[in-house]
Symmetry: C2
Subunit: 365 residues, 2 copies
């Protein structure tokens, strides 16, 4: 890893490891009765009671408002919510009490474990961590996985490996995803070529919101396509290597961007900063675009601030989290106004740009 840690952090936003598992003695969730579904919830909860302090939530007891909050925070999947008549989730218990919305969200985005039950498969064990750390996630999930496996046998084929509801997950049931912030590669029109190259190596590139979504905010999710006929360690090694290469390429392109960008690049970044810190209403699409400029400004050292704070802001300004923060249901227009107000206040605090920093920007020109 040639790039320094801080620059590295400015590219890799988060890492997610997911294991898909099914019990041999039950049909897949799509043909699962309510009673059996409850049994599975019971088995998994009991198995994990020994591992860590989890709290169980049945999805049919959660208001849709809150489900959307969890989805936006990557804590649960959309499919878990769709399956809510039989599904549940185990969240790691966190200190409750007087934590603010921001603190709680930041904690969840720093490190999080959730075990989804009766989603597409009986069990989806998921680990989420800020930055790039495949090993840590895999080890954390292994403990959980083994504890569950000790209770009743997983559906497993000697040749194929773990059996799953969807053939793309058969084998290891492992998906390793890394969210990367690639503004320079995107602006220099490199993403089509990179996506094709990664596809040949068995990796998929998706937008921030998963399958089929565009890459808003210059965020790209890289994950393994193949789970069949490969070992966990092979999959992790491929993802590790390709993500490292991509981070290197992004950093090289950022240097080029900064070298060639001149006043136009500074102008674009500072205008986005000026708009975000001042506007009175802004929709999510424009917000993501402008925040990407500001993040690039932070990455290039033009603006003060911590990348992790900006990535937290990216989640807190999504519709459901925004309404949670506002403490009320908001129309789309109301969301745009609240987003502008909250993000403006936050960015004015986080990304200070004093007169001296401004002078330096121009001096470097």
């Amino acid at each position: 890893m040639k790039a320094s840690a801080i620059r590295y952090e400015n590219v890799a936003v988060s890492t997610r490891i997911r294991l898909a598992r099914n019990f041999a003695d039950y049909p897949f969730p799509r043909r699962l009765g309510k009673a059996s579904a409850r049994e599975i919830v019971g088995i998994v909860s009991a198995a994990l009671r020994e591992v860590d302090a989890f709290e169980l939530h049945y999805m049919d007891s959660i208001p849709s408002r809150l489900a959307r909050v969890y989805i936006e925070r990557y804590q649960i999947s959309r499919d878990l919510w769709k399956n809510r008549d039989i599904s549940a989730v185990l969240f790691l218990k966190r200190d409750g009490g007087s934590r603010t919305f921001e603190k709680e969200l930041s904690d969840i985005l720093t490190e999080n474990v959730s075990v989804m039950i009766n989603e597409e498969d009986h069990i989806r064990e998921q680990y989420f961590v800020r930055g790039f750390d495949l090993k840590r996630g895999y080890e954390r999930l292994s403990g959980i996985d083994e504890s569950i496996a000790e209770t009743i046998p997983f559906a497993c084929d000697e040749e194929l490996g773990y059996l799953t509801a969807c053939p793309t997950n058969v084998g290891t049931g492992l998906r390793a995803s890394v969210m990367l912030f690639l503004p320079a590669l995107a602006r220099r029109d490199r993403m089509r070529e990179i996506t094709a190259k990664l596809k040949r190596k068995g990796l998929t590139v998706r937008g921030m919101f998963g399958e089929g979504s565009g890459a808003e905010g210059d965020l790209y999710q890289i994950s393994n396509e193949i789970t069949l006929g490969a070992r966990d360690t092979d999959i992790l090694a491929i993802v590790e290597r390709e993500v490292n290469d991509l981070v290197e390429e992004e950093i090289v392109e950022r240097d080029m961007l900064q070298e060639e960008g001149g006043a136009a690049l500074i102008d674009r970044i500072l205008r986005s900063y000026g708009i975000l810190t001042n506007c009175a209403q802004i929709d999510e699409h424009e917000f993501l675009e402008r925040l990407s400029d500001v993040k690039l400004g932070v990455a290039l050292g033009m603006l003060g601030g911590e990348m992790s704070d900006l990535d937290t802001l990216l989640v807190s300004t999504r519709p459901a989290n925004l309404m949670e923060l506002a403490g009320e249901t908001l129309t789309e227009e109301g969301q745009d106004i609240f987003r502008a107000r909250y993000a403006g206040r936050t960015l004015r605090r986080l990304c200070m740009l004093d007169e001296e920093m401004r002078e330096n920007l121009f001096a470097e020109e």
Copy 2:
């Protein structure tokens, strides 16, 4: 006048009075020899020596750079510069010494007298004052006019009045112009109708840069079209009345704009403020548009600051003044960068917008 003085000031930017005069014994400048032209310069200078402390500048001794600075500051006309082989100008002497560029410019835009010699006519006496004050300007020019008239006779016809090179000025030779900031009337699409109405009353509406120019920055110059067959006092009374009406109308429209504008209006004003206080390059056209938003914000009490400072900034950021300020010749791109830098620094100082003001903006919503 129902509107309070402060609101009034936020509409009327400046007043200009001009008297066109010719000497009976000389041909009009377009057919004037160099020797005669010099004689006229001598006569006018001598006549005004008694009135006030003027300093004489022959236009052919002024670098074009400086001539453009004077034109942008409304001190001389483009035609005076075109006629530079025979033309000259008398400026009121000002305290020299350690005054800054900003202070000097602000003084000139606060009140200024200049007497142009051998422009289209032998003499163009001009008075410029911030705000709306026709009477003050007319009285000031009358003293100058009488002093010159005492030396040698003006070209005058008993029926027609003063004779001038262009028939549109024959009669009183008086042009009274008022520059108005009309963002609300302009945005609510009222200017076409108003221009037609004023035309029927013998008044002309022009853009900021005079004849044929567009109304950039929502600035409109109202002046009398007719000088023939009317008395000075009649002309001044018409302009006075129509400008008063227009100011009233603008204030009514501003109230409507603010009432109906909601978050979209606040958003537009704050975005322009955010861009102007942060951008790294901006061309004159966009600058005028955004400064108009900021001025409207000040007028509506959303932003702090003095309108007169913003009107001074509007002149200091024009190409020639900008280069004078920079102390060097700049390419167009260089001007855009320097304009952004200077205007940003100035606006961050002049139009403060603290957290409390921001909260109040949203609270009023």
